[in-house]
Assembly symmetry: C2
Homo-oligomer: 325 residues x 2
């Protein structure tokens, strides 16, 4: 079979789609004939040699495809359409997936749509609910509202919690998409001071929850934006990792709960439990169109370098998908 | 009646025990004839004019005494022995207390013992359980193990959760007390690198929960000491408020939940709910001696300056109490 590897750790030019051995099926895994795989930032880090998924040289952490070998796993049969997270090896003709992470694909979604769901919706679901404890009608500030996780989080907060949703993005196109998906307050961070807008639109209360993909660059403004007893979940550091001068009294005075998290390194069991909880709550919502995967671009897998370039340039609104078959 | 005020914001020499008007009873409050009041760090800040409790000029946030006017509050009668938090005004012959915060005093405890309970045990209970979610048999690192909150937290973690308790203190006397109260690992921070000791005694796993009274000075070592998915509750900044160079990736890689908190500024309702939950779980444990208030020193209220001096010099092992009657 063929799969995408990096010849050497480095830039997108290192990526090649080349002959690789078929993966070996382990106990508890399904063999998936991959139809589509989606691109994630962690793929870029892996390409650069900055991380590693279980030493799999083939890049990619999420796929949609057809079960080619159910391997005795209950609930799955050859031919089933499934989507889910894999431990690397996603950009390939075949991949193995722990059965606990496989989700049936609703009939109304094709494979490129389905490949766009697992990573961003599971991350949004986990950070909003399992970590962020978002309640009905609460306020939430979702940064990077045009990103894959951002578009998923806006939808979930709207559909599952009828939340008061404030979102930031750097273009009117992305903000218009945020509005369409259910955001209530749209803030262009290039033109507005987001903290001022948050304070103004929440009656000076601030928001109960922040999903922070930005990190250091937004630290002070997030502190201004958060409510007393607010939760703040750091899931990305696109704006830098290091903050100079953190004053702990600010965290104490507002009684802030700050949680750092990453999804990819979590245990198989955690991912399986998260997958089941997510699938249980959202399957019919995807089926009836209340929730929608947001796909910006589809590339043939042979054009994987262009797909990575698009993500590195932050040009995507929603997901970038590779079509394998 | 008499009460303690600061003549001017400043040092302990500003404190005088002088004639003051009796407090006015509001709806929902009990009038307490105070027998004992305990000293807290927040009292020192208030004396220095750095904070303020509802503009009450009389210092003090916790008392034990006798109900002098039940004011129609169900469950209380004149003559009942009660202890609890007050909104300032504790260092006085009479104080008012929201009825929801009053706890009956078990018969085996005298007033100086009882005055030593509310602030430190409620803070320890809140941070270990309501914020820190300590589970049975989990590991917890309790800094300042000889302090009022430290001695309370060690007891609660031991008696309620059979936790694996690691504690730091600066003298062998304080550590011996920690051991007597149930701590498993005793670390003298003046002689040992506490992070190394934590890593060594937890099989390189780190601790699931940290109660941090120290702040900036311990930041890096706490990061080393905490387990993956650990919770870290910042309830004091005795070692400084400002950290240079916080790397958010460290919080993300270990998936740390960092929560800042303060008890005094919380709402009446919160304090009432916390008080009820605490009293419900611990009344019989105080009654049968499984939990013990730790009183280091008792001063006559006229000697309040000496009591503040002792706390400022960190000489106390457990609580400092003022005897009013």
């Amino acid at each position: 079979m063929k799969g995408v590897i990096a010849k050497e750790p480095g830039g997108k030019e290192q990526l090649i789609y080349t002959d690789m051995p078929e993966p070996t099926l382990q106990t508890g895994e399904l063999l998936i004939e991959v139809h589509a795989a989606a691109v994630n930032r962690t793929d870029i880090m892996n390409r650069e040699g900055k991380t590693g998924y279980a030493s799999n040289p083939i890049i990619g952490v999420e796929v949609a495809g057809v079960v080619a070998n159910a391997n005795g796993q209950q609930g799955f049969a050859i031919g089933d359409r499934v989507m889910g997270l894999v431990n690397g090896g996603g950009y390939a003709e075949f991949a193995t997936m722990p059965a606990g992470r496989a989700m049936k694909i609703p009939d109304n979604l094709d494979f490129t749509d389905a490949a766009a769901i697992p990573e961003v919706f599971l991350t949004a679901f986990q950070t909003l609910y399992w970590i962020g404890n978002l309640s009905k009608k609460e306020s939430v500030l979702i940064h990077a509202g045009g990103s894959g996780v951002g578009t998923a989080a806006i939808q979930l907060a709207n559909v599952l919690s009828d939340a008061f949703i404030l979102t930031t993005a750097g273009s009117s196109t992305k903000l218009a998409k945020g509005k369409e998906l259910g955001a209530d307050v749209l803030i262009n961070y290039k033109e507005q001071d987001f903290a001022q807008e948050v304070v103004k639109t929440t009656n000076e209360q601030g928001v109960s929850l922040i999903l922070d993909f930005i990190g250091a660059q937004y630290w002070q403004k997030n502190l201004q934006s958060i409510a007393v007893d607010g939760r703040w979940v750091v899931i990305g550091v696109l704006g830098g990792t290091t903050i100079e001068h953190v004053n702990l009294m600010h965290l104490m005075a507002k009684r802030i709960q700050l949680t750092g998290t990453l999804l990819t390194p979590r245990s198989d069991q955690y991912k399986a439990e998260l997958t089941q909880a997510f699938s249980h709550q959202t399957y019919t919502l995807f089926e009836n169109g209340s929730l929608k995967p947001i796909v910006d671009a589809v590339f043939a897998i042979e054009d994987v370098q262009q797909a990575h370039q698009m993500m590195e340039e932050n040009r995507n609104l929603g997901k970038i998908v590779l079509k394998v078959k």
